[in-house]
């Protein structure tokens, strides 16, 4: 307790904390709570009808499925990219490393129109794929592609610092005890990377669930087929169906809260593992 008291040597706690709480309440908490307040006025049956209509359920399935596939793709390729960027040396490595953040920095609308133009039937990549009988733009495949693009930095950037700080002695010890390189990676390296990897995966998945700008152009937006949940919310708002939009938004918000809490747990698990080593 004595240590805590010594903290009061520093000034500004009341001012900083007061401002933080007021600003947090005004900018984030009050606006978000409106959503739950409005949902409550719908009544249980009205709410259920709004969130379980076939068109809405179809949009959940599409959004969830495409986000999952995109996050798994990033989980696999993001791992390979991180490994190569951290462990190997080749020309252009620094440039590629810096470019990994491009999807973070690029406005989603720009990503959306660019991917759509590339993968449209007459696009640079769309035309050759069309000849092979693969349609990308305006299909669920196109949606998955856009979600893979925007999720790309998450796995790499959560995995990279952990892989960089991994002590090479553990790998050397495994090798000197007769483990093959493959055994060393599977038994020694992968377990140490797992918490960061799953955190990156969850971050990419969470981002994909709510994504709008990069998807809306390439999706085609056909009800029941290629309509993602965020777009459905906008459609309802534009039709002045505020009740319907609110109910669906509340469902997505709860889903993102659950994911956020899961990610926080994963991160503190990773931090504990890191300390334990």
């Amino acid at each position: 307790m004595r240590l805590r008291k010594s903290h009061s040597v520093l000034p500004g706690f009341r001012l900083a904390m007061g401002f933080t709480l007021v600003y947090l309440a005004l900018v984030v908490l009050v606006p978000l709570s409106t959503l739950f307040w409005k949902s409550a006025t719908l009544g249980a049956s009205g709410f259920w009808q709004a969130v379980s209509a076939p068109r809405v359920v179809a949009s959940y399935k599409l959004t969830f499925g495409a986000s999952l596939v995109a996050a798994v793709t990033n989980g696999v390729f993001g791992f390979v990219v991180t490994w190569v960027l951290v462990r190997y040396r080749f020309p252009g490595r620094r440039l590629m490393d810096a470019l990994v953040d491009f999807p973070f920095a690029l406005p989603t609308a720009v990503a959306g129109i660019t991917l759509t133009t590339l993968y449209a039937p007459n696009g640079w990549l769309g035309a050759p794929l069309e000849k092979l009988g693969i349609k990308v733009a305006f299909t669920p495949l196109g949606i998955t592609l856009a979600l893979t693009f925007i999720g790309l930095p998450f796995v790499v950037r959560t995995l990279q610092p952990v892989l960089e700080s991994l002590d090479p002695e553990a790998e050397e010890a495994a090798a000197s005890l007769g483990a093959s390189r493959f055994q060393t990676i599977v038994r020694v390296v992968l377990p140490a990377l797992f918490p960061a990897w799953i955190t990156g995966f969850a971050l990419a998945f969470a981002r994909a669930l709510g994504e709008y700008g990069s998807v809306v152009f390439i999706a085609g937006n056909m009800p029941m087929k290629t309509e993602i949940t965020p777009l459905l919310i906008i459609t309802k708002l534009e039709q002045y169906d505020y009740a319907g939009a609110t109910a669906i938004a509340a469902v997505t918000l709860v889903a993102s809260f659950v994911l956020l809490l899961t990610i926080n747990r994963l991160q503190s698990w990773g931090a504990r593992l890191g300390r334990a080593e």
Partner: protein
Amino acid sequence: MSTPATREPRIVRLLLTATALSFLTLFLVVPLVAVFAQALEKGWAAYADALLEPMALSALRLTLLTAAIAVPLNVVFGVAAAWAIAKFDFPGKDALVTLIDLPFAVSPVVSGMVFILLFGRQGVLGPWAEALGLKLVFSVPGLVLATLFVTFPFVARELIPLMQAAGTEDEEAARVLGASGWQTFRRVTLPNIKWGLLYGVILCNARAMGEFGAVSVVSGHIRGKTNTLPLHVEILYNEYNFQAAFAVASLLAFLALVTLVAKSLVEWRAASEHASHAEDPHVD
């Protein structure tokens, strides 16, 4: 350097590198090249026309205005939040940190929508706003509010871990030696966090200028009035004016590249400063 027993066989290394480079080229390099190629498809004159057109200029002005309001406010908040969280102990700290992260978890569409539910005509505070003659949605204030919301965590998130790692001893020493609170912050805390702060500002600004989903919902798409650059891109694209859409988009892609370069510079400066500190026996 690592010994051969802790490296993969050459063929595996080549295959992995080729896979990673192909993936990055397909997802990052090709789209980046495509933006500028499409923008210049009809030559430089058409490119300049698309950027100098009055609607594009008014969209640019609004984007700059929105960022000029949202970024400083979130910087002040980020510094205050990081100071309170990193330098003091209080119950509920973890919960507060989670709440600060909240806007990252919310879909941009929902982020914009809550302001319509709050201030729209049927909104909770709608009648009150109307009575005061305030038009807070489908207007510039609505755009600013939505931008504030989506860029809320950036600066705080960069600063909290940095200030926590720095501890409180330096500041305590400054106080004991008679520095005022403001002097302590400016002379002791700020030099420790300046690169992280700069990086937070850069990220916050990139998102503020590039936000699409949230501002799309609150803007009402009034051309020349409530269109930011990303919304202008959408309008041009939906009008099949692809070249002009990509010309404006190339400005935003350029901003993204500037952000990446700035990030690399900040990381490089922070690393070299860290290294020079480590070499100096008096510090650390």
